[in-house]
């Protein structure tokens, strides 16, 4: 299996985000997390609910099994049975995320999307992040604008930032002060490289190598979920 690509490792790592999720709405943003959620549904988490990104819940065969327009998504957010995987223009060591603006919010040097649903997601239910290009510009000491709430600002009973999956590693916040640590580095990536590409010090005790996709998973990714290899566009080989 020496031909397994980095993108395929990332898809499997995203699938693992949903382990134990059961009948929960998976809301993956971006290609690799979407492939990961579908992969989880077809393997370990058949109970997962998947939306088409518009208004329907779909089975793996793309049959409509439910209606979920935006207003009902907000109901699910508040209800809490949801695990979102958002993108991030910036993420900091406590898991604060920024998709709003770079620079001063009053007059940004670069306006981005806006807060979108990040404040509501992070205060209500499990949230993970996907970073396709792990670099010091994305993994920053402190984000410019807090859209998604991190552990140093967490309030309320439901805050739960789970993991950050990048093109280099899987990271979480299972440290005494809830700062980010390396869970696993992807095959071919050293802990040093992950640290060099991160602006803040990363805890790295007991780092493992990110698992390879199984034969069954590779077959699903290559023949069923992404037969045209669009995943290589998001994470180059």
């Amino acid at each position: 299996m020496s031909d397994i690509t980095r993108a395929e490792v990332c898809v499997a790592a995203c699938a693992d985000l949903f382990l134990g999720a059961g009948e929960t709405l998976a809301s993956p943003m971006g290609l690799i997390p979407s492939l990961g959620a579908k992969l989880a549904r077809l393997t370990t988490e058949p109970g997962l609910l998947l939306s088409d990104g518009e208004a329907f819940l779909l089975t793996p065969e793309s049959a409509v099994e439910g209606w979920l327009p935006y207003r009902k998504v907000f109901d699910v957010v508040a209800h809490g049975r949801r695990h979102v995987v958002m993108g991030a223009n910036q993420v900091d060591r406590f898991g604060n995320q920024n998709i709003s603006a770079i620079g001063d919010h009053a007059r940004p040097t670069r306006q981005l999307l806006g807060f979108r649903g990040a404040p509501g997601n992070t205060i209500n239910h499990r949230t993970s992040y996907w970073v396709p290009r792990h670099s010091p510009r994305v993994l920053v000491e402190a984000v410019d604008v807090v859209s998604g709430v991190g552990y140093d600002r967490a309030v309320g009973p439901f805050h739960d930032v789970h993991r950050v999956v990048t093109n280099l590693a899987v990271l979480d916040f299972a440290t005494p002060d809830r700062s980010m640590r390396i869970v696993s580095a992807h095959p071919g990536v050293s802990v040093d490289e992950v640290r060099r590409q991160t602006s803040f010090p990363l805890a790295a005790d007991g780092v493992t190598e990110t698992r390879l996709p199984t034969g069954e998973e590779l077959d699903l990714i290559r023949t069923r979920l992404d037969p045209h290899g669009t995943r290589d566009g998001e994470v180059p080989r």
Partner: protein
Amino acid sequence: MRDKRMTADEAVGEIEDGMTVGIGGWGSRRKPMTLVKALLRSGVTGLTVVTYGGPDAGLLCAAGKVRKLVYGFVSLDSIPYDPWFKRARETGAIEVLELDEGMLQTGLRAAGHRLPFLPIRAGLGSDVLTYAPELKTVRSPYDDGEELVAMPALELDVALVHLNRADRHGNAQYLGPDPYFDDLFCLAADKRYVSCEQVVETFDGPPQTLLLNRMMVDGVVEAPGGAGFTSCVPDYGRDEALQREYADAATDLEQWPDFYERFLG
């Protein structure tokens, strides 16, 4: 029963300088673009615009109509960022109230229910509250004592929405998969104008698709293609080529006057 049919210019003629205008749809989906164009042609300025923002926000910023924008995001969907909105922000041309998307819905709901605020968790711990100090929190009077955001009512002077079908009295129907928040925009507003692909005598399809009733509407504008270039399924999808032209012209301002003239027709 009242015949509420009118032209887009007549509907927009009710909007005065400084008013708060809510615009329905979502991103680059089922935006009332014919009504927005009429607003662009009008002399009105100094508006506060409340929207799940798409090219409506961008175009109104381009025309200098916006004093303050209230939004959860601004996006063209297939193009992540609206260039005119970006420019308005990066040059400090507009004031903003940037919210979580769910807070925007909750603010509209509070206005529709004639409540001063509704509690919501979204916003706590984030910079939403940092940059909008006018937003306050409220503590539960029950044993939990939880602190929540007191999302203030987003009261609108005018709501502009676009649906697939309407009758002359203001009953209106969406035929796509998502109603978005057009009913909430209408309930939050004093004056409510719906444009539609077609004015009909009777409605086909399930009654659950009748999103607006005539209590919620003051004017009906027949505007075939009236959401373009945003999508209005099943009548039509997004005109991606025209949206791309918009975004290119908004990025390269030498192209803008020509595009804008053609776009306004």
